[in-house]
């Protein structure tokens, strides 16, 4: 298929359809409302479901209901909306249902602003809702990558029976880039007869299915949490994704950066190279599970003197970077938020300061 020029938000909507997800519930919020606008038009064309819920709280549970009934379903929102959905995300994780959430992050806290940010790192990676749960979180750095991540999110959500989040930022949503929708990423929804409330007649079974997260017996709840933990541990084994940039040879500094921010860093690294300063980069594509091993190894390279976590947030990912580096090298943070995206020139300055 030929490439088309699409806005990130619209491409995300189309990607879900191409992946085989025809159910979408959402509530408008800047800077991702174009997804809803796009799908309000597009879903009826493919006999899909589009519904604008009355709040992000309700939308979260519409996803829970639909996912519990065994259907592929997704939503898109932005930071304050994701806070409201976090209650449902906790329930969905607890009840082990697959669902896909897209967060086009804007600046916070509170109402914050509407410009790009990465301030929801903790919320998505450490759990915005209550209880011991994790989401598989993928962070795209281009519109094309957003498309691919959305398309892979559905089978991953089903593999783990767990919510998967695509962590974008305002720029990923608003930018237009050429995209194609890889046909091979289309997937058939998995069979869910073992657990979904799809109706006993549907699955020709005499036993009912329950979708729930309530375990009043402490031993049962502990066992349930151990089961969930085993899934998160498996994600750590099987789903870590990252990309290295300029990291094959020796370098004096290592940058860890994701999403839009990593593109700015890439430009900075190119400029530094021209000046004779080698800087490597690890770009986590999954922020949970976090590419700890790759970062540890990259930081351990002989000439690497410092590791920089560069974020559009006030030092969130840096905690995971520190955990990964395990004291092997000094770890520094640099970042801005609220829509102020550090420029390549700033990154160059920061790198030089630390050398």
């Amino acid at each position: 298929m030929a490439k088309v020029l699409m806005k990130g938000n619209e491409a995300i909507g189309e990607a879900a359809i191409r992946a085989g997800c025809l159910n979408y519930f959402a509530y408008p919020i800047t800077p991702q409302s174009e997804v809803a606008e796009y799908l309000a038009r597009r879903m009826p064309e493919v006999n899909g479901v589009f519904l604008q819920g009355e709040s992000e709280v309700a939308v979260g549970y519409m996803l829970f209901g639909a996912a519990g009934a065994g259907e592929r379903v997704f939503t898109t929102s932005s930071s304050p909306g994701v806070s409201l959905m976090s209650e449902a995300i906790s329930y969905i994780a607890g009840a082990q249902c697959p669902a896909v959430f897209v967060n086009i992050i804007r600046g916070g806290p509170g109402l914050g602003g509407i410009l790009p940010s990465q301030g929801d790192y903790f919320q998505s990676v450490k759990g915005g809702g209550h209880g011991d749960y994790r989401m598989l979180v993928m962070a795209p750095a281009s519109v094309q990558e957003a498309v691919e991540m959305v398309m892979t999110a559905f089978p991953l959500a089903e593999k783990y029976r767990n919510p998967v989040m695509i962590l974008g930022d305002g720029l990923i949503g608003q930018m237009m880039e050429p995209v194609e929708f890889p046909e091979h990423l289309r997937s058939e929804p998995s069979k869910k007869d073992d657990w979904a409330t799809n109706g006993m007649d549907t699955r020709k079974s005499a036993t009912r299915n329950l979708v729930k997260s309530l375990y009043l017996d402490p031993e049962a709840l502990n066992n349930h949490n151990l089961l969930l933990k085993s899934k998160y541990d498996r994600m750590k084994q099987e789903e870590v994704r990252y990309e290295s940039y300029n990291a094959e040879g020796e370098y004096q500094a290592l940058i860890v950066s994701y999403g839009t921010m990593s593109r700015v860093c890439r430009t900075a690294i190119d400029h530094l190279k021209e000046e004779g300063i080698e800087v490597g980069m690890i770009r986590p594509q999954t922020v949970f599970p976090f590419p700890e091993k790759a970062i540890h190894e990259a930081a351990s390279k002989e000439n690497c003197r410092v590791v920089l976590s560069i974020e559009m947030s006030m030092g969130q990912m840096v905690e995971d970077v520190e955990r990964a580096v395990m004291g092997k090298r000094p770890v520094k943070w640099y970042g801005k938020c609220g829509g102020e995206v550090p420029t390549p020139e700033e990154i160059i300055e920061v790198v030089k300061e630390h050398l």
Binding site: K3, L5, T30, P31, I114, L115, G170, L171, Q174, M175, M176, E177, P178, T260, R263, V264, R266, T267, A268, D270, V341, P342, T343, P344, E345
Partner: protein, 185 residues
Amino acid sequence: MQSEVMFAGFGGQGILMCGKLLAHTAMQVGYEVAWIPSYGPEMRGGTAYCTVVISDRPIGSPIIKNPAHLVAMNRPSLEKFAPVVKPGGVILVNESLIPVRSGREDVDEILVPATGIAKELGSVKAANIVALSAFVARSGIVDFEAMREAVREEFSGKEKFLPLNMAAIDAGRKSALEQPETETA
């Protein structure tokens, strides 16, 4: 090689679409492209701008503080962005609405009465196409005929606007090419 073009003007002047058409053209002729809008409250009647990045390799930073070129459709845009354009670039000034100049001597500044030309052709709405055409003709940033194709494609399905916009393309090029190139310092 990477080049960046900033389109700026009032909301409603078709600024974002102008950028989209350039990005689309560049993509069609094989470049890597990114179209980066300003979004938010400034969309409502204030200054709207977008930046188109065209490159022969994957595009890094989408944050462009110093674009190579500027197409300024109103005065606040020219005043705000002219100072940040890289030396040697093109600054297109919509002469119909902007009574001042960029004050830059190190750029190729062209004056195109885009709004006036569009009005004569039948609708001020085509001013963005006049400006786009003039800019592409002057900068040679992408193949001119490919740009014409992109505009034609954009208006397919809106056939009644097609003649106006095709005329806007010819008029824009004429306006840009009849001006002598500025001596850049």
